[in-house]
């Protein structure tokens, strides 16, 4: 897994490559929390994520919970059909807004 986190116009952009599972979830979580600071608007680009395990989905949900307590939200971009299906069957999808591109997601924050 590879993560890049950038901040622009008060939006935190997280781009992930690879799989998020119990091996990488802990690292991802601490990495995000470290960079998140007081920002509460997150766009997470999952274009290059091929698998999200149960632990991976929990990192996303943790982020959602963290942000929703201070009025923010996390938008997911380019979630693959398979991951979308898994998120739907396991209920995680109800917590997120999904968008087809970063541009589309950015519009939600304007």
């Amino acid at each position: 897994m590879k993560v890049t986190i950038q901040t622009k116009n008060n939006i935190v952009y997280i781009t992930i490559q690879g799989s998020i599972d119990s091996n990488t979830a802990g690292e991802l979580q601490s990495h995000i929390l470290e960079k998140l600071g007081s920002f509460n608007r997150v766009i997470m680009d999952l274009t290059a994520v091929d698998f999200l395990s149960s632990a991976g989905l929990r990192v996303l949900l943790m982020l959602y919970r963290q942000l929703s307590t201070n009025g923010g939200k996390v938008l997911l971009v380019n979630v693959s059909d398979e991951i979308c299906d898994i998120m739907s069957m396991t209920g995680f999808i109800n917590f997120f807004e999904l968008y087809g591109s970063i541009d589309e997601a950015e519009k939600q924050f304007i």
Binding site: S53, S54, I86, S88, M89, F92
Partner: protein, 707 residues
């Protein structure tokens, strides 16, 4: 570093083959995620040592075996915290050392890696009927699960018992048929897709046939005639009481069955539908002394099973062994398990398979005051749960009407089933019994109220409702036991032809009988239960014991929605009728008195002559009237309802009781009529032209409302 990270027990004290660990906590039993590691705790009364065995998923051999130092044992409980585990990708088990002395009840064997009786998930059958796991050395390995599901505002619904309408579902059977049109057939996720159907049907509770992990390949064999593989389809053979059946989850192969099941329950609750689990605590999948050793037998045989004096297995379940339910340790396990499902999965109630076994002592004798049943009834966490007993066992105990209830327990009312079936086929000498059934069986449950009885005419075990009127005899040849298995007392009637026929008159009569049956069920006091598919005429072609068929014999064919739409629309109407009329859902029994001074007693009985019920032996007609002033035991006002059932072959003229207060009789249901005149939607029921009499067709039921 937060203060929590400072606890010294978050860090290891020992190391063995590169794995770091320390002394664990004895409670809770099972494997629990703790900071930096996993706490493992297991009980055995007679083991002399315990080794924790760790596997990587998908690897045949363990990657580590950690013998627990004796100082990690407290009493008879072994506990260890292991650090740095990849909790999504490990599997675990135990080797227990101890005497192999069957005569004295001990069957330890350190060659076998045993699954944890408290495991929250079991690997090995992640995808239904996937044969890749069949030849593994240790097929059923324990796994770790997350217990942090986000339920948001969800809680068990606590629907009053008298308002429940239960729908019995087999998870695979409900959506496995190609006609189901769902994305992932035969799964928890697929049931979610069918919620709109359930809502339209009108039920408010689903009872799921066993969803604890079981092995569908147990005793599997080919049918010699057809070559079909016969499997353990029903699943009444538990491998582990805390683990959901992974193969029932579309995400089972990703290890997410727990989340998928919880999501289903949350979604059902959001739609006002409760979830009852059919639970099997009377035996396990380990069989008798010839069966496999998977868990309990190797962990602590003498504690978990009822043993004969010479160390063999009592067989009150008919499956080889009997769980030792009233042993204090096993009792606690059952309690822990139900508390877990109630609190972690938000389950609304439990139906206990062969529950009479739960009332037997360790030597098998029936107890007067069974501690397990009493504990469950008074448990603080289970306090609002529905507890439903199948009040008999395979050892000859039959407790319908006398099951130790402690003011809580309800029972599957087997007498209701038999009586209604006999009445519907026109047997004599049934009307007296039928009147009891329609009142919620006060002859059995006088002091327990109407909700002590779950009324049903069919369930998974036996004929479907359609087959009840299409077969005189069972046809179980496909089970491969020469038609010797399955019940012989079906009280069924084929309406003139055995099996499928093109004869229009026979088919019309069958449909009418199904409508008669559904009407009687929905207009009885007590808690009605419908078998999945009966509302659309599902057939098992006369097979009354389909436990082994993973095929279209058991899968609900959704094309029946169109084919038998008259049945489905009728079922929707009569279920909705029950929900709209509180008089049908009294919690206390009728008193046969007019305590509201309305001019009518709460219930009155009639025959072809009003006010004159015919209780003679040869009668096949029965009519009764419920006075609307006495709805919900007099606290609510409803319409008055009159029901006449004529199981004589020919039409009969029924004199109607006269209504007071300028009210008129209106027609809701007449099963002798063809659609669209079989029933009238709520609030558009036509007033009868003749208010003093009604000709009820042969083998038909009418429902009138007085308003």
């Amino acid at each position: 570093m937060t203060t929590l990270d400072n606890r010294i027990d978050f860090y290891p004290t020992n190391e063995y083959q590169g794995i770091k660990y320390r002394r664990g906590r004895v409670l809770p039993f099972g494997a629990t995620l703790v900071p930096n590691g996993v706490n493992f705790s297991v009980f055995s009364s007679a083991a002399t040592s315990c080794t924790l065995v760790l596997f990587n998923k998908n690897e045949e051999d363990p990657y580590a075996e950690i013998p627990l130092p004796d100082e990690f044992r407290v009493g008879n409980v072994y506990a260890i915290i292991v650090f740095g585990l990849d909790y999504e990708n490990i599997e675990y088990g135990y080797r227990m050392e101890g005497p192999h002395d069957p005569q004295n009840g001990h069957r330890f064997n350190r060659d076998i890696v045993l699954s944890d009786p408290y495991a929250k998930a079991i690997g090995g059958r992640d995808t239904w009927r996937d044969i890749s796991g069949l030849n593994r050395n240790y097929p059923f390995r324990s796994r770790l699960v997350f217990d942090d599901f986000d339920w948001e505002e969800d809680n068990p619904l606590e629907t009053p018992m008298e308002d429940l309408i239960i729908y019995e579902i087999h998870v695979r059977g409900f959506t496995s048929h190609p006609s189901s049109g769902v994305r992932h057939r035969g799964t928890f996720a697929a049931i979610r897709e069918k919620i709109p159907y359930l809502l339209e049907l009108g039920i408010n509770c689903v009872e799921l046939m066993p969803i604890y992990e079981f092995d569908e390949f147990e005793h599997s064999h080919e049918n010699p005639d057809t070559g079909d593989l016969l499997v353990n389809y029903w699943g009444y053979s538990t491998l582990n009481f805390f683990a959901p059946k992974a193969g029932y989850a579309a995400t089972g192969k990703y290890g997410m069955a727990v989340d998928e099941l919880k999501t289903l329950i949350k979604e059902l609750h959001r739609n006002g539908i409760e979830v009852i689990l059919d639970v099997v605590f009377n035996h396990t999948a380990e069989g008798d002394h010839r069966g496999p050793t998977i868990s309990f037998r190797g962990i602590d045989n003498k504690t978990y099973y009822m043993l004969t004096p010479d160390g063999y297995y009592f067989n009150f379940s008919g499956t080889g062994n009997t769980l030792n339910c009233n042993h204090p340790v096993v009792r606690n396990m059952v309690l822990d398990c139900l508390r877990y499902w109630t609190s972690e999965y938000h389950i609304d109630g439990f139906r206990f398979d062969l529950a009479s076994i739960l009332g037997r002592a360790q030597d098998g004798s029936p107890l007067n005051n069974p501690p397990l049943l009493e504990s469950l009834a008074h448990d603080p966490i289970l306090a609002k749960c529905k507890l439903i007993a199948e009040a008999w066992d395979a050892g000859g105990l039959y407790q319908v009407g006398v099951f130790p209830a402690y003011g809580r327990w309800a029972e599957w009312n087997g007498k209701y089933r038999d009586t209604v079936r006999k009445f519907l086929k026109g047997e004599h000498n049934t009307v007296g019994q039928l009147s009891q059934c329609m009142q919620g069986s006060p002859e059995m449950y006088l002091h327990r109220g109407t909700t002590a009885g779950i009324n049903f005419i069919t369930c998974h075990d036996g004929f479907t409702l359609y087959d009840l009127f299409a077969y005189n005899e069972k046809h179980n040849e496909a089970n491969g036991e020469n038609n010797q298995d399955g019940c012989n007392d079906n009280f069924s009637w084929n309406c003139g032809w055995e099996g499928e026929t093109d004869d229009l008159a026979v088919n019309l009569l069958r449909h009418r009988q199904i409508k008669n049956a559904l009407t009687i069920l929905m207009l009885s006091q007590g808690v009605p239960m419908i078998l999945m598919g009966d509302e659309m005429g599902r057939t098992q072609y006369g097979n009354n014991n389909t436990y082994c068929h993973d095929s279209s014999l058991n899968w609900l064919d959704w094309s029946l929605v169109q084919k038998n739409f008259d049945l489905l629309s009728f079922a929707r109407h009569i279920i909705n009728f029950r929900r709209q009329h509180p008089i049908l859902r009294n919690k206390e029994h009728y008193s046969n008195r007019d305590y509201k001074e309305s001019g009518y007693a709460d219930i009155t009985f009639h025959g072809t002559k009003a006010w004159h019920a015919d209780w003679s032996e040869s009668t096949t007609v029965f009519a009764f009237m419920l006075d609307g002033h006495h709805a919900k035991n007099g606290f609510v006002k409803d319409d008055t309802i009159y029901v006449a059932a004529n199981m004589h072959w020919d039409a009969l003229d029924f004199e109607l009781p006269q209504l007071s207060e300028n009210r008129k009789w209106h027609l809701s249901v007449n099963t002798s009529m063809m659609p669209p005149e079989t029933f009238y939607p709520l609030n558009s029921e036509p007033a009868l032209e003749n208010q003093s009499g009604f000709i009820v067709g042969g083998r038909s039921v009418i429902v009138l409302i007085g308003k």
